[in-house]
Subunit: 197 residues, 2 copies
């Protein structure tokens, strides 16, 4: 795992985590959840590869091309997308180490434009934001985020806003970030489990 | 542009291309088309970044992290996905330099499994296959491809099969690979243009 060049370093250790998830970071937990959804025919949702500009490649053997110079790009879309119940699903996930607020600068402007386009085209667009110090992971509808940005000039969203306006994402051992439970409630008006029944 | 390690080298020059598109390869033409769809609020469809395993990164400055060792991964999904008319759209694009047949080995088994999962979840899954020597680009419904594979033991699909079973994708200067016209006909029973009207 590498540090990304956008100033958001991944925390190596997190206090206050529940025992079952100690040491797992959000991306890893979402990947496990997505794999569960995939294996159980619930949804097909993947993390996109990190966009990279390749400058130099060595070809010692054709089967083992080696990239020797490349740079991280600023992503033009969100990290995750896929299909659930026939609907297009698209989201970004962020960890936040502050106790008091989530800095808006950790989401790029073109990621917001992308989520806006998704919603306008009839997709389900949201963010998954984890306050690591509280070990709370919130489901933030893109619509709600846009409404906040429109109504406020501040550069961060207070923690209390998440508590008041967003759903907590349920945690379980096999589905560490079971965000489709919230999708069920918020978009399909279904309660409860993400089974394939 | 680099050569990918799967044995499919991109052709630097292609004979018999129409004048307007000379020198453009399929990926580039699809990107132009997708940009047109995006700019005109028709669809939000992107090529995914090439999946890469990063081994070494130098941090001369925080703002210019330099990857110094990385390798191409075999992709676990298709190259393109997004949303059109509220529906999830997913496809792979391949150029074929043979006059007679398309080799099935140029599509990975897990890409076929992925397209199968997409269809089962209610998405629109297909391939865009260009016979470069004829400058013909076919829209191949994943369902039709699976039917061929099930009914045949051969390791390639004859060119004549494409002519008989698949739609030719319309070409225009602003939409070099206007595959959504075929999606309209085949999945939405709409004729003609991909406008946003």
């Amino acid at each position: 795992m590498v540090n990304y060049p956008n100033g958001m370093k991944k925390k190596a250790t997190v206090q206050l985590r529940s025992t079952s998830n100690r040491g797992m970071d959000l991306e890893h937990e979402i990947n496990i959840t997505n794999q569960y959804y995939l294996d159980n025919d619930i949804a097909v949702i993947y993390k996109k590869p990190t966009p990279i500009t390749i400058v130099k490649v060595d070809y010692p053997k054709r089967s083992a091309a080696k990239i020797t110079e490349a740079y991280f790009q600023i992503p033009s879309t969100t990290d995750y997308n896929g299909i659930y119940e026939g609907k297009y699903v698209d989201f970004e996930a962020k960890e936040c180490s502050s106790r008091t607020s989530f800095p808006l600068k950790s989401i790029h402007a073109h990621q917001l434009r992308h989520l806006d386009a998704i919603i306008k085209n009839g997709g389900i667009g949201f963010l998954i934001i984890r306050f690591t110090l509280y070990n709370e992971t919130y489901f933030v509808k893109a619509m709600d985020l846009f409404a906040f940005i429109k109504a406020n000039t501040r550069k961060s969203i207070p923690y209390t806003w998440f508590k008041e306006n967003c759903d907590l994402i349920p945690v379980s051992y096999i589905k560490p970030v079971d965000y489709l439970q919230v999708v069920n409630r918020e978009y399909f008006k279904k309660g409860g489990e993400t089974s394939n029944g």
